[in-house]
Symmetry: C2
Amino acid sequence: MPDAALLAIDWGTTSARAYRVAANGDILDSRSAPLGISQVAQARFAEALASLLGDWRDAPVPRIACGMIGSRQGWIEAPYNDCPAPLADLAAGVVHTPDRELAIVPGVRARDANGMPVVMRGEETQILGGVDDREERVLLALPGTHSKWALVESGRIVQFVTFMTGEVWHVLITHTILGRLAAAPPAGAAPGAGFERGLTRGLGAGSILHDAFSARSLALMNELAPEEVSDWLSGLLIGREVRSARVWAHRHGYDGARVRLIGDEALVARYTDAMTRDGISVIPVASNAAARGLWRIARSAGLVAGRH
Amino acid sequence: MPDAALLAIDWGTTSARAYRVAANGDILDSRSAPLGISQVAQARFAEALASLLGDWRDAPVPRIACGMIGSRQGWIEAPYNDCPAPLADLAAGVVHTPDRELAIVPGVRARDANGMPVVMRGEETQILGGVDDREERVLLALPGTHSKWALVESGRIVQFVTFMTGEVWHVLITHTILGRLAAAPPAGAAPGAGFERGLTRGLGAGSILHDAFSARSLALMNELAPEEVSDWLSGLLIGREVRSARVWAHRHGYDGARVRLIGDEALVARYTDAMTRDGISVIPVASNAAARGLWRIARSAGLVAGRH
Protein backbone atom coordinates (compact mmCIF):
# COMPACT_ATOMS: atom_id res chain seq x y z
CA MET A 1 0.00 0.00 0.00
CA PRO A 2 1.39 3.47 -0.89
CA ASP A 3 2.37 5.87 1.86
CA ALA A 4 -0.10 8.46 3.05
CA ALA A 5 0.59 12.12 2.29
CA LEU A 6 -2.17 13.37 4.62
CA LEU A 7 -4.27 12.17 7.53
CA ALA A 8 -7.76 13.65 7.10
CA ILE A 9 -10.29 13.55 9.94
CA ASP A 10 -14.03 14.16 9.84
CA TRP A 11 -14.57 14.89 13.55
CA GLY A 12 -18.17 15.39 14.59
CA THR A 13 -20.29 15.48 17.72
CA THR A 14 -20.71 11.75 18.29
CA SER A 15 -18.07 10.06 16.17
CA ALA A 16 -14.86 10.65 14.24
CA ARG A 17 -13.50 9.06 11.06
CA ALA A 18 -9.88 9.26 9.92
CA TYR A 19 -8.64 8.69 6.36
CA ARG A 20 -5.18 8.02 4.96
CA VAL A 21 -4.88 10.02 1.75
CA ALA A 22 -2.17 9.36 -0.86
CA ALA A 23 -0.11 12.04 -2.63
CA ASN A 24 -2.44 11.82 -5.66
CA GLY A 25 -5.55 12.32 -3.50
CA ASP A 26 -6.59 8.67 -3.48
CA ILE A 27 -8.16 7.51 -0.24
CA LEU A 28 -6.15 4.53 0.94
CA ASP A 29 -7.93 3.51 4.08
CA SER A 30 -10.23 4.76 6.84
CA ARG A 31 -11.08 4.00 10.43
CA SER A 32 -13.67 5.40 12.80
CA ALA A 33 -14.27 5.54 16.52
CA PRO A 34 -17.05 6.80 18.82
CA LEU A 35 -14.80 9.70 19.82
CA GLY A 36 -16.93 12.66 18.76
CA ILE A 37 -16.41 15.81 20.81
CA SER A 38 -19.34 15.04 23.10
CA GLN A 39 -17.69 11.71 23.97
CA VAL A 40 -14.28 13.10 24.91
CA ALA A 41 -14.03 13.72 28.67
CA GLN A 42 -12.29 16.83 29.96
CA ALA A 43 -11.37 17.99 26.46
CA ARG A 44 -8.59 15.38 26.18
CA PHE A 45 -8.58 15.71 22.40
CA ALA A 46 -4.88 14.89 21.88
CA GLU A 47 -5.43 11.50 23.51
CA ALA A 48 -8.63 10.94 21.53
CA LEU A 49 -6.77 11.71 18.30
CA ALA A 50 -3.98 9.26 19.17
CA SER A 51 -6.58 6.62 19.97
CA LEU A 52 -8.46 7.24 16.70
CA LEU A 53 -5.29 7.12 14.60
CA GLY A 54 -3.84 4.03 16.32
CA ASP A 55 -0.79 2.80 14.43
CA TRP A 56 -1.17 5.63 11.89
CA ARG A 57 -0.13 8.14 14.53
CA ASP A 58 3.58 7.92 13.77
CA ALA A 59 3.20 8.75 10.06
CA PRO A 60 5.27 11.93 9.46
CA VAL A 61 2.49 13.65 7.49
CA PRO A 62 0.21 16.63 8.14
CA ARG A 63 -3.16 16.16 9.79
CA ILE A 64 -6.30 18.15 9.08
CA ALA A 65 -9.82 17.92 10.49
CA CYS A 66 -13.25 19.41 9.88
CA GLY A 67 -16.44 19.42 11.93
CA MET A 68 -17.39 20.15 15.52
CA ILE A 69 -13.77 19.72 16.65
CA GLY A 70 -13.43 23.35 15.49
CA SER A 71 -16.39 24.61 17.55
CA ARG A 72 -16.24 26.46 20.85
CA GLN A 73 -16.78 23.09 22.56
CA GLY A 74 -14.02 21.44 20.50
CA TRP A 75 -10.23 21.44 20.63
CA ILE A 76 -9.75 25.00 19.45
CA GLU A 77 -12.28 27.32 17.85
CA ALA A 78 -11.91 27.92 14.12
CA PRO A 79 -14.12 31.00 13.59
CA TYR A 80 -16.82 30.84 10.90
CA ASN A 81 -16.13 32.07 7.38
CA ASP A 82 -18.92 34.11 5.81
CA CYS A 83 -20.68 33.13 2.60
CA PRO A 84 -19.80 33.32 -0.19
CA ALA A 85 -17.04 30.98 0.92
CA PRO A 86 -14.45 29.96 -1.64
CA LEU A 87 -12.11 27.07 -0.92
CA ALA A 88 -9.09 29.39 -0.73
CA ASP A 89 -10.70 31.37 2.10
CA LEU A 90 -11.47 28.21 4.05
CA ALA A 91 -7.85 27.16 3.56
CA ALA A 92 -6.66 30.57 4.76
CA GLY A 93 -8.93 30.25 7.82
CA VAL A 94 -7.46 26.94 8.98
CA VAL A 95 -6.52 27.09 12.67
CA HIS A 96 -3.78 25.01 14.27
CA THR A 97 -3.97 23.45 17.71
CA PRO A 98 -1.38 24.87 20.14
CA ASP A 99 0.69 21.67 19.91
CA ARG A 100 0.51 21.88 16.08
CA GLU A 101 -0.87 18.32 16.10
CA LEU A 102 -3.86 19.22 13.97
CA ALA A 103 -5.06 21.82 11.47
CA ILE A 104 -8.81 22.55 11.72
CA VAL A 105 -11.07 23.87 8.95
CA PRO A 106 -13.42 26.77 9.87
CA GLY A 107 -17.19 26.44 9.72
CA VAL A 108 -19.28 28.61 7.42
CA ARG A 109 -22.11 31.00 8.19
CA ALA A 110 -24.69 32.91 6.19
CA ARG A 111 -28.00 34.76 6.62
CA ASP A 112 -31.30 33.40 5.39
CA ALA A 113 -33.91 35.51 3.56
CA ASN A 114 -35.33 36.61 6.95
CA GLY A 115 -31.96 37.69 8.30
CA MET A 116 -31.60 34.63 10.54
CA PRO A 117 -28.09 33.23 10.86
CA VAL A 118 -27.35 29.76 9.50
CA VAL A 119 -24.20 27.86 10.37
CA MET A 120 -22.44 24.63 9.50
CA ARG A 121 -19.28 22.80 10.51
CA GLY A 122 -18.07 19.83 8.53
CA GLU A 123 -20.60 20.03 5.72
CA GLU A 124 -18.65 22.87 4.04
CA THR A 125 -15.81 20.38 3.60
CA GLN A 126 -18.07 17.62 2.28
CA ILE A 127 -19.62 20.14 -0.13
CA LEU A 128 -16.22 21.20 -1.48
CA GLY A 129 -15.33 17.52 -1.77
CA GLY A 130 -18.42 16.97 -3.90
CA VAL A 131 -17.87 19.70 -6.49
CA ASP A 132 -15.26 20.88 -8.94
CA ASP A 133 -14.22 24.55 -9.29
CA ARG A 134 -15.06 24.43 -12.99
CA GLU A 135 -18.76 23.73 -12.33
CA GLU A 136 -20.75 26.94 -12.61
CA ARG A 137 -23.84 26.13 -10.57
CA VAL A 138 -24.46 23.12 -8.34
CA LEU A 139 -27.30 22.47 -5.89
CA LEU A 140 -26.33 19.96 -3.19
CA ALA A 141 -28.30 18.23 -0.46
CA LEU A 142 -26.68 16.64 2.60
CA PRO A 143 -29.43 14.82 4.49
CA GLY A 144 -28.91 14.04 8.15
CA THR A 145 -29.69 15.01 11.73
CA HIS A 146 -29.48 18.61 10.56
CA SER A 147 -29.76 18.42 6.77
CA LYS A 148 -28.06 21.06 4.69
CA TRP A 149 -28.81 22.26 1.17
CA ALA A 150 -26.16 24.40 -0.51
CA LEU A 151 -25.66 26.40 -3.69
CA VAL A 152 -22.11 26.26 -5.07
CA GLU A 153 -20.98 28.43 -7.97
CA SER A 154 -17.51 27.94 -9.46
CA GLY A 155 -16.23 26.40 -6.26
CA ARG A 156 -17.73 29.02 -3.92
CA ILE A 157 -20.42 28.14 -1.39
CA VAL A 158 -22.76 31.04 -2.05
CA GLN A 159 -25.72 30.15 0.17
CA PHE A 160 -27.01 27.29 2.30
CA VAL A 161 -29.90 26.32 4.56
CA THR A 162 -30.47 23.91 7.45
CA PHE A 163 -33.45 21.63 8.16
CA MET A 164 -33.63 19.78 11.49
CA THR A 165 -35.35 16.86 9.77
CA GLY A 166 -33.43 13.93 11.26
CA GLU A 167 -33.51 15.25 14.82
CA VAL A 168 -37.18 16.27 14.64
CA TRP A 169 -38.10 12.80 13.38
CA HIS A 170 -36.12 11.25 16.22
CA VAL A 171 -37.71 13.28 19.03
CA LEU A 172 -41.23 13.01 17.61
CA ILE A 173 -41.10 9.22 17.42
CA THR A 174 -39.15 8.81 20.68
CA HIS A 175 -40.60 11.43 23.00
CA THR A 176 -44.13 12.37 21.83
CA ILE A 177 -47.51 10.69 21.72
CA LEU A 178 -46.79 9.74 18.07
CA GLY A 179 -44.58 6.90 19.27
CA ARG A 180 -47.28 5.38 21.48
CA LEU A 181 -49.02 3.53 18.69
CA ALA A 182 -45.79 2.79 16.81
CA ALA A 183 -43.97 -0.53 16.66
CA ALA A 184 -40.39 -0.88 15.42
CA PRO A 185 -40.25 -1.76 11.71
CA PRO A 186 -38.68 -5.16 10.89
CA ALA A 187 -34.90 -4.84 11.31
CA GLY A 188 -33.08 -3.98 8.11
CA ALA A 189 -36.28 -3.68 6.09
CA ALA A 190 -36.36 -1.05 3.34
CA PRO A 191 -38.93 1.69 3.91
CA GLY A 192 -42.22 0.43 2.56
CA ALA A 193 -45.74 1.63 1.91
CA GLY A 194 -45.82 3.69 5.12
CA PHE A 195 -42.88 5.76 3.93
CA GLU A 196 -44.42 6.26 0.49
CA ARG A 197 -47.70 7.44 1.99
CA GLY A 198 -45.95 9.84 4.36
CA LEU A 199 -43.97 11.16 1.42
CA THR A 200 -47.14 11.89 -0.54
CA ARG A 201 -48.36 14.05 2.34
CA GLY A 202 -44.93 15.63 2.89
CA LEU A 203 -44.47 16.66 -0.74
CA GLY A 204 -47.85 18.43 -0.58
CA ALA A 205 -48.65 21.72 1.12
CA GLY A 206 -49.38 21.82 4.84
CA SER A 207 -48.22 22.52 8.35
CA ILE A 208 -45.90 20.05 10.06
CA LEU A 209 -47.54 20.93 13.39
CA HIS A 210 -50.81 19.60 12.02
CA ASP A 211 -49.67 16.91 9.59
CA ALA A 212 -47.38 15.12 12.05
CA PHE A 213 -50.38 14.32 14.22
CA SER A 214 -51.78 12.18 11.39
CA ALA A 215 -49.12 9.59 12.31
CA ARG A 216 -51.25 9.02 15.41
CA SER A 217 -54.75 9.53 14.06
CA LEU A 218 -54.13 7.19 11.10
CA ALA A 219 -52.92 4.49 13.50
CA LEU A 220 -55.86 5.17 15.83
CA MET A 221 -58.26 4.59 12.92
CA ASN A 222 -56.37 1.41 11.90
CA GLU A 223 -55.38 3.07 8.63
CA LEU A 224 -51.67 2.71 9.36
CA ALA A 225 -50.02 -0.38 10.85
CA PRO A 226 -47.98 0.13 14.04
CA GLU A 227 -44.75 -0.83 12.25
CA GLU A 228 -45.47 1.78 9.53
CA VAL A 229 -45.89 4.78 11.85
CA SER A 230 -42.19 5.60 12.10
CA ASP A 231 -41.69 5.37 8.33
CA TRP A 232 -44.82 7.42 7.62
CA LEU A 233 -43.41 10.19 9.80
CA SER A 234 -40.02 9.87 8.11
CA GLY A 235 -41.70 10.22 4.70
CA LEU A 236 -43.72 13.23 5.87
CA LEU A 237 -40.67 15.09 7.17
CA ILE A 238 -38.31 14.22 4.31
CA GLY A 239 -41.00 15.15 1.77
CA ARG A 240 -41.62 18.48 3.51
CA GLU A 241 -37.88 19.19 3.62
CA VAL A 242 -37.57 18.57 -0.13
CA ARG A 243 -40.60 20.77 -0.82
CA SER A 244 -39.27 23.61 1.36
CA ALA A 245 -35.75 23.31 -0.04
CA ARG A 246 -37.09 23.73 -3.58
CA VAL A 247 -38.88 26.92 -2.54
CA TRP A 248 -35.58 28.10 -1.08
CA ALA A 249 -33.60 27.16 -4.21
CA HIS A 250 -36.14 28.91 -6.44
CA ARG A 251 -35.74 32.09 -4.42
CA HIS A 252 -32.04 31.95 -5.29
CA GLY A 253 -32.65 31.43 -9.00
CA TYR A 254 -32.28 27.65 -9.10
CA ASP A 255 -35.06 25.49 -10.54
CA GLY A 256 -34.05 22.62 -8.25
CA ALA A 257 -34.48 20.07 -11.01
CA ARG A 258 -31.03 18.52 -10.45
CA VAL A 259 -29.61 17.84 -7.00
CA ARG A 260 -26.28 16.34 -5.98
CA LEU A 261 -26.78 14.15 -2.93
CA ILE A 262 -24.19 13.44 -0.23
CA GLY A 263 -24.89 11.19 2.73
CA ASP A 264 -25.05 7.71 4.18
CA GLU A 265 -26.53 4.99 2.05
CA ALA A 266 -29.86 4.45 3.81
CA LEU A 267 -30.67 8.16 3.97
CA VAL A 268 -29.58 8.73 0.38
CA ALA A 269 -32.04 6.00 -0.65
CA ARG A 270 -34.92 7.73 1.16
CA TYR A 271 -34.06 11.16 -0.22
CA THR A 272 -33.57 9.78 -3.73
CA ASP A 273 -37.05 8.32 -3.51
CA ALA A 274 -38.49 11.65 -2.28
CA MET A 275 -36.70 13.73 -4.90
CA THR A 276 -37.52 11.37 -7.75
CA ARG A 277 -41.18 11.51 -6.75
CA ASP A 278 -40.88 15.31 -6.90
CA GLY A 279 -39.41 15.20 -10.43
CA ILE A 280 -35.82 15.93 -9.36
CA SER A 281 -32.84 14.27 -11.07
CA VAL A 282 -30.55 12.98 -8.34
CA ILE A 283 -26.80 12.70 -8.77
CA PRO A 284 -25.30 10.73 -5.87
CA VAL A 285 -21.80 11.73 -4.78
CA ALA A 286 -19.27 9.01 -3.97
CA SER A 287 -18.83 8.52 -0.23
CA ASN A 288 -15.71 10.02 1.33
CA ALA A 289 -16.65 13.52 0.19
CA ALA A 290 -15.27 14.80 3.51
CA ALA A 291 -11.90 13.19 2.83
CA ARG A 292 -11.76 14.67 -0.66
CA GLY A 293 -12.72 18.08 0.68
CA LEU A 294 -10.06 17.92 3.39
CA TRP A 295 -7.49 16.95 0.77
CA ARG A 296 -8.44 19.92 -1.41
CA ILE A 297 -8.31 22.34 1.53
CA ALA A 298 -4.99 20.92 2.76
CA ARG A 299 -3.47 21.48 -0.70
CA SER A 300 -4.84 25.00 -0.91
CA ALA A 301 -3.47 25.71 2.58
CA GLY A 302 -0.05 24.48 1.50
CA LEU A 303 -0.08 21.63 4.01
CA VAL A 304 0.61 19.16 1.22
CA ALA A 305 2.26 19.68 -2.13
CA GLY A 306 0.21 19.93 -5.31
CA ARG A 307 -1.80 22.24 -7.49
CA HIS A 308 -3.70 24.81 -5.43
CA MET B 1 -74.23 26.61 49.34
CA PRO B 2 -76.97 25.16 47.07
CA ASP B 3 -77.05 21.44 46.36
CA ALA B 4 -75.42 20.08 43.25
CA ALA B 5 -77.63 18.69 40.48
CA LEU B 6 -74.68 17.18 38.57
CA LEU B 7 -71.08 16.17 39.11
CA ALA B 8 -69.16 17.01 35.95
CA ILE B 9 -65.64 15.67 35.35
CA ASP B 10 -63.05 16.75 32.81
CA TRP B 11 -60.86 13.62 32.86
CA GLY B 12 -57.73 13.80 30.76
CA THR B 13 -54.45 11.98 30.32
CA THR B 14 -52.51 13.47 33.21
CA SER B 15 -55.10 15.07 35.49
CA ALA B 16 -58.80 15.21 36.28
CA ARG B 17 -61.03 18.05 37.50
CA ALA B 18 -64.47 17.60 39.02
CA TYR B 19 -67.16 20.32 39.24
CA ARG B 20 -70.33 20.55 41.32
CA VAL B 21 -73.01 22.05 39.09
CA ALA B 22 -76.26 23.51 40.42
CA ALA B 23 -79.72 22.92 38.94
CA ASN B 24 -79.51 26.27 37.09
CA GLY B 25 -76.14 25.39 35.56
CA ASP B 26 -74.05 27.50 37.91
CA ILE B 27 -70.69 26.01 38.80
CA LEU B 28 -70.55 25.81 42.58
CA ASP B 29 -67.13 24.40 43.22
CA SER B 30 -64.31 22.39 41.66
CA ARG B 31 -61.45 20.19 42.72
CA SER B 32 -58.68 18.50 40.77
CA ALA B 33 -56.24 15.65 41.26
CA PRO B 34 -53.31 14.17 39.30
CA LEU B 35 -55.50 11.18 38.45
CA GLY B 36 -55.46 11.35 34.65
CA ILE B 37 -55.86 7.98 32.93
CA SER B 38 -52.10 7.53 32.52
CA GLN B 39 -51.73 7.87 36.30
CA VAL B 40 -54.31 5.26 37.27
CA ALA B 41 -52.71 1.86 37.83
CA GLN B 42 -54.42 -1.30 36.61
CA ALA B 43 -57.43 0.62 35.31
CA ARG B 44 -58.78 1.14 38.84
CA PHE B 45 -60.94 4.02 37.65
CA ALA B 46 -63.77 3.56 40.17
CA GLU B 47 -61.29 4.06 43.00
CA ALA B 48 -59.73 7.03 41.23
CA LEU B 49 -63.16 8.61 40.82
CA ALA B 50 -63.99 8.13 44.52
CA SER B 51 -60.64 9.67 45.42
CA LEU B 52 -61.18 12.64 43.10
CA LEU B 53 -64.70 13.30 44.39
CA GLY B 54 -63.81 12.88 48.08
CA ASP B 55 -66.76 13.94 50.24
CA TRP B 56 -68.82 14.74 47.13
CA ARG B 57 -69.06 11.05 46.35
CA ASP B 58 -72.22 10.47 48.36
CA ALA B 59 -74.24 13.17 46.58
CA PRO B 60 -77.23 11.40 44.95
CA VAL B 61 -76.78 13.11 41.59
CA PRO B 62 -75.73 11.96 38.13
CA ARG B 63 -72.09 12.03 37.10
CA ILE B 64 -70.77 12.74 33.62
CA ALA B 65 -67.24 12.95 32.25
CA CYS B 66 -65.47 13.92 29.04
CA GLY B 67 -61.90 13.38 27.81
CA MET B 68 -59.49 10.47 27.60
CA ILE B 69 -61.48 8.52 30.20
CA GLY B 70 -63.64 7.56 27.17
CA SER B 71 -60.71 6.34 25.07
CA ARG B 72 -59.66 2.74 24.51
CA GLN B 73 -57.15 3.20 27.34
CA GLY B 74 -59.81 4.69 29.64
CA TRP B 75 -62.63 3.25 31.72
CA ILE B 76 -64.89 2.30 28.83
CA GLU B 77 -64.63 3.34 25.20
CA ALA B 78 -67.13 5.91 24.00
CA PRO B 79 -66.80 5.62 20.19
CA TYR B 80 -66.15 8.79 18.19
CA ASN B 81 -69.01 10.79 16.70
CA ASP B 82 -68.44 12.03 13.17
CA CYS B 83 -68.50 15.69 12.19
CA PRO B 84 -70.76 17.55 11.83
CA ALA B 85 -71.43 16.81 15.48
CA PRO B 86 -74.47 18.47 17.07
CA LEU B 87 -74.85 18.46 20.83
CA ALA B 88 -77.87 16.13 20.64
CA ASP B 89 -75.77 13.46 18.89
CA LEU B 90 -73.03 13.70 21.50
CA ALA B 91 -75.71 13.34 24.17
CA ALA B 92 -77.16 10.31 22.38
CA GLY B 93 -73.65 8.82 22.16
CA VAL B 94 -72.99 8.97 25.90
CA VAL B 95 -71.76 5.61 27.21
CA HIS B 96 -72.27 4.37 30.77
CA THR B 97 -69.71 2.43 32.78
CA PRO B 98 -70.87 -1.12 33.66
CA ASP B 99 -71.47 -0.09 37.28
CA ARG B 100 -73.50 2.94 36.09
CA GLU B 101 -71.18 5.11 38.18
CA LEU B 102 -70.35 7.44 35.31
CA ALA B 103 -71.68 8.61 31.94
CA ILE B 104 -68.94 9.36 29.38
CA VAL B 105 -69.18 11.73 26.42
CA PRO B 106 -67.89 10.41 23.06
CA GLY B 107 -64.98 12.00 21.23
CA VAL B 108 -65.38 13.53 17.79
CA ARG B 109 -63.61 12.74 14.54
CA ALA B 110 -63.41 14.32 11.10
CA ARG B 111 -61.29 14.22 7.92
CA ASP B 112 -58.96 17.02 6.92
CA ALA B 113 -58.70 18.37 3.36
CA ASN B 114 -56.18 15.62 2.55
CA GLY B 115 -58.38 12.84 3.84
CA MET B 116 -56.37 12.40 7.03
CA PRO B 117 -58.38 11.59 10.16
CA VAL B 118 -58.48 14.12 13.01
CA VAL B 119 -59.75 13.23 16.46
CA MET B 120 -60.45 14.90 19.77
CA ARG B 121 -61.69 13.85 23.21
CA GLY B 122 -62.66 16.46 25.75
CA GLU B 123 -62.31 19.51 23.54
CA GLU B 124 -65.70 18.82 21.89
CA THR B 125 -67.24 19.37 25.32
CA GLN B 126 -65.26 22.56 25.97
CA ILE B 127 -66.28 23.81 22.54
CA LEU B 128 -69.97 23.19 23.19
CA GLY B 129 -69.53 24.90 26.55
CA GLY B 130 -68.13 27.97 24.78
CA VAL B 131 -70.93 28.52 22.25
CA ASP B 132 -74.65 28.98 22.10
CA ASP B 133 -76.90 27.13 19.63
CA ARG B 134 -78.22 30.45 18.33
CA GLU B 135 -74.81 31.55 17.08
CA GLU B 136 -74.56 30.92 13.36
CA ARG B 137 -70.80 30.77 12.83
CA VAL B 138 -68.07 30.64 15.46
CA LEU B 139 -64.35 29.98 15.06
CA LEU B 140 -62.75 28.70 18.27
CA ALA B 141 -59.15 28.03 19.26
CA LEU B 142 -58.17 25.77 22.17
CA PRO B 143 -54.41 26.09 22.62
CA GLY B 144 -52.55 23.35 24.43
CA THR B 145 -50.34 20.31 24.12
CA HIS B 146 -52.39 19.42 21.04
CA SER B 147 -54.16 22.64 20.11
CA LYS B 148 -57.53 22.44 18.40
CA TRP B 149 -59.30 24.93 16.16
CA ALA B 150 -62.97 24.33 15.46
CA LEU B 151 -65.78 25.74 13.34
CA VAL B 152 -69.18 25.66 15.03
CA GLU B 153 -72.38 26.54 13.19
CA SER B 154 -75.68 26.77 15.07
CA GLY B 155 -74.36 24.50 17.82
CA ARG B 156 -72.88 21.87 15.49
CA ILE B 157 -69.11 21.23 15.37
CA VAL B 158 -68.72 21.17 11.60
CA GLN B 159 -64.94 20.85 11.26
CA PHE B 160 -61.78 20.99 13.40
CA VAL B 161 -58.02 20.64 13.15
CA THR B 162 -55.17 19.69 15.50
CA PHE B 163 -51.72 21.27 15.88
CA MET B 164 -49.12 19.55 18.10
CA THR B 165 -47.73 22.95 19.08
CA GLY B 166 -47.36 22.48 22.83
CA GLU B 167 -45.83 19.03 22.61
CA VAL B 168 -43.48 19.96 19.76
CA TRP B 169 -42.25 22.98 21.74
CA HIS B 170 -41.67 20.76 24.76
CA VAL B 171 -39.65 18.08 22.96
CA LEU B 172 -37.64 20.59 20.91
CA ILE B 173 -36.52 22.53 23.97
CA THR B 174 -36.09 19.43 26.17
CA HIS B 175 -34.64 16.81 23.86
CA THR B 176 -32.92 18.52 20.90
CA ILE B 177 -29.80 20.60 20.36
CA LEU B 178 -32.01 23.74 20.62
CA GLY B 179 -32.05 23.37 24.40
CA ARG B 180 -28.25 23.28 24.71
CA LEU B 181 -27.79 27.04 24.54
CA ALA B 182 -31.04 27.77 26.42
CA ALA B 183 -31.34 28.87 30.04
CA ALA B 184 -34.61 28.79 31.97
CA PRO B 185 -36.44 32.15 31.82
CA PRO B 186 -36.90 33.90 35.20
CA ALA B 187 -39.65 32.08 37.11
CA GLY B 188 -43.08 33.61 36.60
CA ALA B 189 -41.83 36.20 34.12
CA ALA B 190 -44.18 37.14 31.30
CA PRO B 191 -42.88 36.24 27.85
CA GLY B 192 -40.66 39.09 26.72
CA ALA B 193 -38.74 40.26 23.69
CA GLY B 194 -37.66 36.71 22.78
CA PHE B 195 -41.28 35.63 22.42
CA GLU B 196 -42.14 38.68 20.33
CA ARG B 197 -39.24 38.07 17.98
CA GLY B 198 -40.12 34.38 17.59
CA LEU B 199 -43.70 35.41 16.88
CA THR B 200 -42.59 37.73 14.08
CA ARG B 201 -40.85 34.79 12.40
CA GLY B 202 -43.72 32.39 13.14
CA LEU B 203 -46.40 34.64 11.66
CA GLY B 204 -44.35 34.84 8.46
CA ALA B 205 -43.98 32.15 5.80
CA GLY B 206 -41.43 29.40 6.22
CA SER B 207 -40.65 25.83 7.17
CA ILE B 208 -40.62 24.84 10.85
CA LEU B 209 -37.87 22.31 10.08
CA HIS B 210 -35.66 25.22 9.02
CA ASP B 211 -36.92 28.07 11.19
CA ALA B 212 -36.70 26.16 14.49
CA PHE B 213 -32.94 25.86 14.03
CA SER B 214 -32.67 29.65 14.29
CA ALA B 215 -33.30 29.24 18.04
CA ARG B 216 -29.80 27.76 18.11
CA SER B 217 -28.04 29.83 15.47
CA LEU B 218 -29.30 33.12 16.94
CA ALA B 219 -27.96 32.08 20.36
CA LEU B 220 -24.70 30.90 18.81
CA MET B 221 -24.25 34.34 17.25
CA ASN B 222 -25.14 36.06 20.55
CA GLU B 223 -28.24 37.54 18.94
CA LEU B 224 -30.55 35.84 21.43
CA ALA B 225 -29.93 35.56 25.18
CA PRO B 226 -29.93 32.04 26.67
CA GLU B 227 -33.02 32.82 28.75
CA GLU B 228 -34.87 33.98 25.59
CA VAL B 229 -34.34 30.80 23.53
CA SER B 230 -37.31 28.92 24.96
CA ASP B 231 -39.67 31.88 24.47
CA TRP B 232 -38.36 32.56 20.97
CA LEU B 233 -39.23 28.97 20.04
CA SER B 234 -42.64 29.30 21.72
CA GLY B 235 -43.32 32.44 19.68
CA LEU B 236 -42.20 30.75 16.47
CA LEU B 237 -44.47 27.73 16.95
CA ILE B 238 -47.51 29.64 18.22
CA GLY B 239 -47.17 32.15 15.39
CA ARG B 240 -46.91 29.38 12.83
CA GLU B 241 -49.96 27.63 14.31
CA VAL B 242 -52.01 30.83 14.04
CA ARG B 243 -50.84 31.36 10.46
CA SER B 244 -51.67 27.77 9.45
CA ALA B 245 -55.02 27.82 11.24
CA ARG B 246 -56.06 30.93 9.30
CA VAL B 247 -55.24 29.18 6.03
CA TRP B 248 -57.36 26.27 7.25
CA ALA B 249 -60.25 28.55 8.30
CA HIS B 250 -60.13 30.37 4.95
CA ARG B 251 -60.45 27.07 3.14
CA HIS B 252 -63.71 26.54 5.03
CA GLY B 253 -65.07 29.98 4.19
CA TYR B 254 -64.09 31.78 7.40
CA ASP B 255 -61.99 34.94 7.27
CA GLY B 256 -60.49 34.15 10.68
CA ALA B 257 -60.80 37.77 11.81
CA ARG B 258 -62.59 36.86 15.08
CA VAL B 259 -61.57 33.93 17.25
CA ARG B 260 -63.03 32.67 20.50
CA LEU B 261 -60.22 31.47 22.75
CA ILE B 262 -60.49 28.73 25.40
CA GLY B 263 -57.57 27.69 27.58
CA ASP B 264 -55.44 28.26 30.62
CA GLU B 265 -54.51 31.81 31.47
CA ALA B 266 -50.82 31.82 30.54
CA LEU B 267 -51.42 30.16 27.16
CA VAL B 268 -54.39 32.40 26.40
CA ALA B 269 -52.13 35.42 26.99
CA ARG B 270 -49.55 34.12 24.49
CA TYR B 271 -52.16 33.27 21.87
CA THR B 272 -53.95 36.59 22.37
CA ASP B 273 -50.67 38.33 21.70
CA ALA B 274 -50.07 36.23 18.57
CA MET B 275 -53.57 36.70 17.20
CA THR B 276 -53.68 40.42 17.94
CA ARG B 277 -50.38 40.81 16.08
CA ASP B 278 -52.02 38.99 13.18
CA GLY B 279 -55.02 41.35 13.18
CA ILE B 280 -57.44 38.91 14.81
CA SER B 281 -60.08 40.05 17.34
CA VAL B 282 -59.89 37.68 20.30
CA ILE B 283 -62.88 36.86 22.47
CA PRO B 284 -61.78 34.96 25.56
CA VAL B 285 -64.19 32.38 26.94
CA ALA B 286 -64.74 32.16 30.68
CA SER B 287 -62.92 29.24 32.25
CA ASN B 288 -64.95 26.17 33.13
CA ALA B 289 -66.06 25.73 29.52
CA ALA B 290 -65.76 21.97 30.06
CA ALA B 291 -68.17 22.10 33.02
CA ARG B 292 -70.67 24.17 31.03
CA GLY B 293 -70.39 21.76 28.11
CA LEU B 294 -70.90 18.73 30.36
CA TRP B 295 -73.95 20.40 31.87
CA ARG B 296 -75.44 21.05 28.43
CA ILE B 297 -74.77 17.47 27.29
CA ALA B 298 -76.18 16.02 30.53
CA ARG B 299 -79.38 18.00 30.04
CA SER B 300 -79.68 16.93 26.42
CA ALA B 301 -79.10 13.30 27.47
CA GLY B 302 -81.87 13.57 30.04
CA LEU B 303 -79.49 12.94 32.93
CA VAL B 304 -80.65 16.15 34.58
CA ALA B 305 -83.92 18.02 34.23
CA GLY B 306 -84.18 21.14 32.10
CA ARG B 307 -84.62 22.46 28.58
CA HIS B 308 -82.99 20.22 26.00
